[in-house]
Point group: C2
Chain length 135, copies 2
DNA sequence: TTGCATCCGGTACCCGGGTACAGGCTTACC
DNA sequence: GGTAAGCCTGTACCCGGGTACCGGATGCAA
């Protein structure tokens, strides 16, 4: 007989929009909760913690699908190496993204240093715009 | 009496989907071209070059709205400092994004090194997951 | 002149992560 | 037992950058 929470309470405690709860339910991130006799959702308190976990994972760059998968994998088979492996793969993604942005940064820098004055009719010598990067 | 091009030809030369031409027209990136008597678009050949400029600007990280603005500003008043200023601002955006990603990378690294084994029930000591970043 | 490729306008859909609104029901408190 | 806050479902919309599909009209070549 735990103190079940209503959706608004869960949302507020987790710092999340109430609509987001239903959205996560649809996406399979949180389980369908019990219902009150009138049909209102009654959440166990752990849900708040789960939402915090989801937010933490999002901040780590995981998509909602990936988070759903991680939660799911953790729940069944407890396949230990999975989180590790996914974190390693995610680091590679992040590194690739950083490399892209670094290239872009360099190209912007060139544009500035060459003194480009127009996208369409730049008059600067050796204008870098036509090549502009390779992202 | 220049050799006007049909939309499919422009699209092919610029390496772009034909639908994208109409989309860019709607977005104000390319001007509405002349029409044939039957209503088909007849593009001047410069359009291909313009599309390449647009692609270059996109690779520099500018949004289509920003590109439209840059082209427009270049066409009228020839306000020289504008491209420079926008490139400087864009570098700041890129740097901020890189900083974010670097933070995320660090957090992922911590998760791996701490040996976290589950999003929801990690058993590692000093588990970094609850804090996980501040992006 | 006929046949096929292409183009037309309009509309709908895709990705990801939600948010908003409408119209009706339940719950909580006095 | 009244009233207001909160919840329900279903649906539509937002961002950015396009892509796809439809039925009908054109363009061009043989």
């Amino acid at each position: 007989m735990r103190p079940y929470l209503r959706s608004g309470e869960v949302a507020e405690r987790a710092g999340v929009n109430p609509q987001t709860l239903r959205y996560y339910e649809r996406r399979g991130l949180i389980a369908e909760p019990r219902r009150s006799p009138g049909g209102h959702r009654a959440y166990p308190p752990e849900t708040v913690a789960l939402l915090n976990v989801i937010k933490a994972a999002q901040r780590l760059g995981f998509t909602l699908d990936e988070v759903a998968d991680l939660i799911d994998t953790g729940r069944r088979g407890r396949s230990t190496p999975d989180l590790r492996a996914r974190a390693v793969a995610k680091i590679a993604e992040v590194d690739a993204r950083i490399a892209d942005l670094t290239t872009v940064r360099g190209a912007l820098d060139q544009v500035i240093r060459a003194g480009c004055d127009s996208l369409t009719d730049c008059t600067c010598p050796d204008c870098p715009l036509p090549q502009a990067d390779l992202t």
